[in-house]
Symmetry: C2
């Protein structure tokens, strides 16, 4: 009789860690999950630190695979497009896609996290140890030291250790500090703050639901995503320093004036805006790049721990869930952990780099371009070209959000060519009526290979 | 007194291995180089297997750093552009750049290889052991087994082993077979054969020198690069199977007809064409992708061993030389080999992926697009835009060949946007006179960030 192998240690029981634990457990692995925070199912949710999540096709595909999508249905609020609130008050809905089913779904991180934990623990019997904080890793001895709820040290052998401990990953830091991997952290000059837009006293929503609301102000922006109770979770993105900035808006009067001047249509619907501002921290925004994401057969970084991105494409969680499916497939395909990690890294790294770049670019799009008439003509032309040539032209946003069969890497590559085409084809146009659509179609046919052809060249790698 | 560390074992004494050995030796490392073939300086050169090399700015920068460029001057033949030989006989020189110094340089691989070896051995005292063939690697014991010229096995400790053993790397194969890294090899449907165009009997060249000659035939092509003795080294790229192909052209009569029909202007200048065809092997063309390029502190893949590319951008050797500079910089920056390898991989992998993609795309450009009037208008517009906006628009070919300060990764990214712009701006133009240049300039200014701005966002990684 052979001895059972030691359990796989998974650090972090957020959505990524919980989903991965479910997948590994389903494959028969013995997994123990360690989470620094208390069980969120027994404690009131931490507020003020989290942007609502936008679940799109990539995330949905992952949740479907573990049979979770049905349980989420009632909690998801579909968003059909961006509802833009320019300074001049002329609001407009910019649809995300061309088809009715091309929507994304708003959900609070807390709701999704609790559901995944419920399923992991309740249905799959995953062993999750809350309030176990990673203290240090002894790479030579091959164990991690954690602190239990009584602050007693516990040695956990790393055979292997899977790190789903998020953008601020302590595991990644230990790997970087000991020069086992290379890590680059690129902070944005902007931070964010969560704000609330409660439902009206009669229970109705303060804004049209079924949309992601954006108040683009060039250098900064406010967004709001719907919740299932009629409220919205709003997020202000603003420079940390300069003017205006989180630093310059230092007293209640300055904050009040800032809201009244920049967001007059929504400020009255945010009764707690000054209190929220003062009580809640300024969140960090940045991109984390690492290479590689694993060390030997000991440890692998998954999700934000490996490749945190800025939130402006709404793909962070979707990308993390794709990671989970990929690592699960590599566990099935290879017999040893180092091979699994190498294969996982080779598959996912180019795609993580691509979504990181696209997420940064989307910030400019959301806070400035959406109110630029040139952007609107380009966007209209992109949708028209998709209608005419769906096998050749899909707007980049749609490839990322609605086409999980197109890897991020390919969406980025085709997206750049498309951006050049759209800019030049609409150079002198003030509306779609000014564009010679037949000529545009011919240019696309001459310039862009069919998507299937490009797919066959990237999916191998 | 501390014991001297064991020598670094470097496998492969081609141009990459020789250059890297020089750099490491200059840093004070003790390096021993093992090469399977006999010393090329004492043996007649192997012919029939090598395309001439095109040395461009990236390679030149590396050779300058070791003071080698001066010694090469007399051997380099500058090429100012592509000299295109269409079927209709209307030949034309398409300049590579817009400035007189934007040339690339033809050199035979053998000449460059011998020179680098001469310097490595003669000036730097590098210990090169020829006719030492890598037989196997015992990863657990931590040594490589080589065979000396008498076929006796020799154990070489790998602390570390640096593999510069080329596209068919045995070290890479061992890493892949033992699932230490992931390797993807993507063969092209085309192979190649080297052919000769000797100097005329009066010693003059059979073709205009100072150009890379191309006979684009859609599905296949012939190219010729000048040598310093008035001869040209020609290469035929052709499908392996199908019609016409290396398989279908099976007898002397079929081969003769193929040359007479497809290349009537040059066939008479290739008196050995039938003999060359029969005597010389069909070379392999393909792309090799690996992730990662190293294993622990034991081994690293450098150059073609890590990332062989197809030869159609003429960047293979240039990219390999950039690798050598990067690894040398990482050796200086970090104290242990695993950190050095991780940093080297993180720096170079995205750039290697980019040049691999661009090299594949250049094949279509060389064998088909160069005779397409649309390509010629786009190319003329690209050069015109560079003249007007050199800080914003540099043709992709020029970024790759003449701008070593722009990483391949950025050249690829900007190149795709530019491709879209050029295609749309020239959609209805049959010559540059039909293009509204001021409008094109405005589109570029609105769409493309200054290069310096993009550079600041990529060089960190």
């Amino acid at each position: 009789m052979s001895k059972a192998p030691p359990p796989v240690a998974l650090v972090g029981a957020g959505p990524t860690g919980a989903l991965l634990a479910i997948l590994l457990k389903r494959r028969g692995s013995h997994v123990v999950v360690y989470e620094a925070r208390p069980d969120p199912r027994r404690h009131p949710e931490e507020s003020g630190r989290s942007i609502n999540l936008a679940l799109a096709a990539r995330g949905i595909r992952a949740l479907e695979q573990v049979g979770l999508l049905e349980r989420l249905r009632g909690k998801l609020v579909p968003m059909r497009g961006r509802f833009v609130h320019p300074r001049d008050g002329r609001t407009a809905l910019q649809p995300y896609g061309t088809r009715a089913d091309e929507t994304i779904h708003s959900i609070s991180r807390a709701t999704l996290g609790r559901l995944l934990l419920d399923v992991a623990v309740g249905e799959y019997g995953v062993d999750v140890r809350f309030e176990h904080r990673l203290d240090a890793i002894d790479w030579h001895a091959g164990h991690a030291v954690l602190r239990d709820p009584h602050d007693h040290p516990i040695e956990v052998p790393i055979r292997p250790l899977i790190a789903c401990d998020g953008a601020g990953s302590r595991v990644r830091r230990s790997l970087a500090d000991t020069r086992r991997i290379e890590v680059y952290e690129e902070a944005l000059e902007h931070g964010y703050k969560e704000l609330s837009i409660p439902a009206m006293t009669d229970g109705t929503a303060a804004l049209p639901r079924e949309a992601l609301h954006v108040w683009p102000r060039g250098d900064h922006m406010l967004i709001a995503l719907p919740n299932d109770d009629g409220s919205f979770t709003a997020t202000l993105f603003l420079r940390r320093r300069g003017s205006p900035s989180f630093e310059s808006l230092a007293d209640r009067r300055a904050i009040a004036t800032f809201f009244d001047e920049d967001f007059p249509d929504i400020a009255p619907r945010m009764p707690q805006r000054i209190a929220d501002w003062c009580d809640r921290p300024v969140g960090f925004l940045g991109t984390v790049r690492a290479a590689p994401w694993y060390h030997r057969d000991q440890v692998v970084l998954v999700g934000d721990a490996a490749h945190a991105v800025v939130p402006f494409h709404g793909q962070g969680m979707n990308c993390c869930f794709e990671d989970c499916l990929a690592l699960d497939a590599c566990v099935a395909a290879y017999g040893d952990w180092e091979s699994r990690f190498a294969a996982f890294y080779a598959l996912r790294k180019p795609n993580a780099d691509a979504i990181a770049a696209m997420s940064l670019e989307n910030y400019e799009e959301m806070r400035a371009k959406v109110v630029d008439p040139r952007f609107q003509v380009q966007s209209a032309l992109a949708h028209e070209l998709e209608r005419r040539l769906p096998d050749r032209f899909i707007p980049r946003y749609s490839m990322v959000m609605f086409h999980p069969e197109i890897p991020y890497q390919l969406a980025e590559r085709r997206g750049r060519i498309q951006a050049g085409l759209l800019a030049a084809l609409t150079a002198d146009a003030s509306s779609l009526a000014d564009v010679d659509l037949d000529a545009a179609q011919r240019v696309v046919e001459a310039q862009l290979a069919p998507i299937a052809q490009d797919l066959s060249s990237v999916t191998k790698v």
